[in-house]
């Protein structure tokens, strides 16, 4: 999957999970920067991303994510 496609799909998922159609994120964005993104909704996001990209994350991978950039790299590595 091309990177741009990936990012668009990811952004759609973000907007859907956090109920904010105007949400914008960058690589450096963290959970603190997005309203409603906490440890509870984090898993909702992960589940939504897994469904959207048809991939599976492990707990370790999820625990290591520090920002959106990491997430992008992780999804990229799983979608080939």
């Amino acid at each position: 999957m091309e990177e741009q496609q990936l990012r668009t799909k990811m952004l759609e998922t973000f907007r859907d999970v956090f109920g904010n159609p105007d949400l914008l994120v960058q690589d450096s964005t963290t959970a603190d920067d997005v309203e409603g993104w906490d440890s509870l909704t984090h898993i909702d996001l992960i589940v939504a991303l897994e469904r959207a990209f048809r991939i599976k994350f492990t707990t370790g991978e999820v625990g290591k994510l520090a920002n959106v950039g990491d997430l992008v790299s992780l999804i990229k590595s799983k979608t080939g």
Partner: protein, 475 residues
């Protein structure tokens, strides 16, 4: 060793200069030795436990990392699970001694092994804290968040670090180890550490311990012609906050004297607008630990089970928080209550935020109703923290009345000092917050600062709570 004691002051008076007098590459070793000295002075026998647990974890960390370098399969998972399980069993063993003694109805005067059990059913110092540190290290190495630590001295200093051994905060290994490998204490950090310790002493001696008298009276004889359980209901969260944040202040401040930054434990918890926000502001080092090592894995494992998975993860997480404090029914109920609150909160949060987006009037009201309501939930669950048994908790809760004002114990000296201290603390906080400033941005001449510090110390000495002791003035 009590933080507020002459012994601790003497200990620091020796250890702090010693730290700065030794060569900077020897400082991690010095921290390690000082921490073990502190531990042995407090409980010599238990020092063996922490040393063995630390050595075991250090070794297993290396084993896990070696397993990751194996080309075939995941050879690090089994050692990680085994080591973590052993550490959990180690902690559980000591935590069950006291409840076991209670359940078997033995006390220290009992004959034979039962008496031995009862007399020794004490938790080794800091075991809940250092075991959690060790477990987090192993899991972080397994998840490749951090590499296995090469220096045993640095690692052992992490586990036993004396400012954090008494009451936390539970620092992550990566954070501490990074700092200990390039210790660079500054004079500004040193001074802010001292100030932090002073604030902690004030909160503990003047506010928390003085409030304790009122609580003792209210809980000892709930509703029976004595102090208002209603007052105790509202003041206990404040006492606990004063007490615990004070211990955190002293821990953080002491660590700063050595150039180590510790994580914070509290961030204006009673301003939380929802119970989930409260838990992101109260005892943060513990809740983030549980989130990262219990809640997240559980939630990931149950993510296909939808809301049931969420409810299960939340309830398990909160019950564990309760039981981490003490293996007793009261703390179990505490955990269950919070689990229930959080589940309701999580399940309704989407609907709530949609509602508040469209009803801005309600939204504005919610900014103060939220904290008030959350405070009540917290106060309710806290009755189970303070009560010695479920029966006593029920006694208190079923007798929440004000009675006459004279009966509330509010006229007692200790309560007045505590309330005065609380007011001063609150005013200080408000004034700093309004001006968006921190302590160090005030430009006051040195003599002014010193006068202020001496004044605070004088207040602590004069109005701080002193234990009753044996003062038999009968004759």
């Amino acid at each position: 060793m009590n933080f507020l004691s002459v012994q601790f002051a003497l200990f620091l008076a020796i250890v702090v200069p010693g730290y700065y007098l030794c060569a900077s590459r020897r400082r991690p070793l010095f921290l390690l030795l000082a921490s073990y000295a502190f531990y042995i002075l407090s409980s010599p026998l238990a020092a063996i436990g922490i040393f063995l647990a630390t050595a075991f974890t250090f070794w297993m960390g290396a084993v896990i990392e070696a397993g990751q370098n194996e080309p075939a399969g995941n050879a690090s998972r089994a050692p990680m699970l085994a080591a973590v399980t052993l550490l959990v069993l180690y902690l559980s063993f000591f935590k069950t001694l006291a409840p076991l003694a209670r359940a078997l109805n033995v006390d220290s005067a009992s004959e034979g092994w039962a008496g031995v059990l009862a007399r020794n059913a004490l938790l080794p110092l800091g075991i809940s804290y250092y075991t959690f540190k060790l477990i987090s290290y192993l899991v972080d190495v397994y998840w490749k968040k951090i590499p296995a630590e090469r220096s045993f001295i640095a690692f052992a200093a992490y586990a036993a670090f004396f400012p954090q051994i008494v009451a936390g905060p539970i620092q992550r290994s990566g954070d501490f180890l990074e700092q200990v490998h390039k210790l660079s204490p500054s004079t500004e950090m040193f001074r802010s550490g001292l100030r932090r310790m002073l604030i902690g002493c004030f909160k503990k001696a003047v506010v928390a311990d003085n409030l304790g008298r009122l609580m003792d009276a209210a809980y000892a004889a709930p509703g029976a012609a004595h102090p208002s359980t209603l007052l105790a209901f509202y003041l206990f969260p404040l006492q606990l906050y004063a007490d615990f944040s004070a211990l955190t202040d002293i821990a953080v401040g002491t660590a700063r004297l050595f150039g180590i930054q510790s994580p914070e434990n509290f961030y204006e918890p009673f301003l939380a607008t929802s119970i989930s926000q409260y838990w992101r502001r109260w005892h943060m080092s513990l809740t983030t630990w549980l989130t990262d090592y219990v809640f997240l894995p559980l939630r990931m494992a149950t993510r296909s089970a939808g809301n049931w998975g969420l409810a299960f993860s939340l309830m398990t997480n909160m019950i564990l928080i309760g039981l981490w404090h003490s293996l007793s029914w009261t703390f179990f109920v505490f955990g269950v209550l919070h689990g229930f609150f959080l589940i309701v909160d999580a399940l309704t949060s989407k609907r709530r935020s949609k509602f508040f987006k469209t009803h801005t009037g309600w939204d504005r009201a919610a900014t103060w109703v939220g904290p008030v309501f959350t405070f009540h939930l917290v106060a309710l669950a806290m009755v189970f923290v303070r009560a010695a048994s479920l029966g006593q908790a029920w006694d208190v809760l079923s007798r929440l009345r004000l009675l006459r004002i004279e009966d509330t114990g509010i006229g007692e000296n200790e309560t007045l000092y505590a309330l005065a201290g609380l007011t001063l603390w609150f005013l200080a906080w408000v004034s700093l917050k309004l001006k968006q400033r921190t302590w160090s941005t005030f430009t006051v001449p040195a003599w002014g600062r010193w006068a202020f510090y001496y004044a605070v110390i004088a207040v602590i000495v004069k109005y701080g709570h002193n234990a009753e002791g044996f003062i038999y003035f009968k004759f």
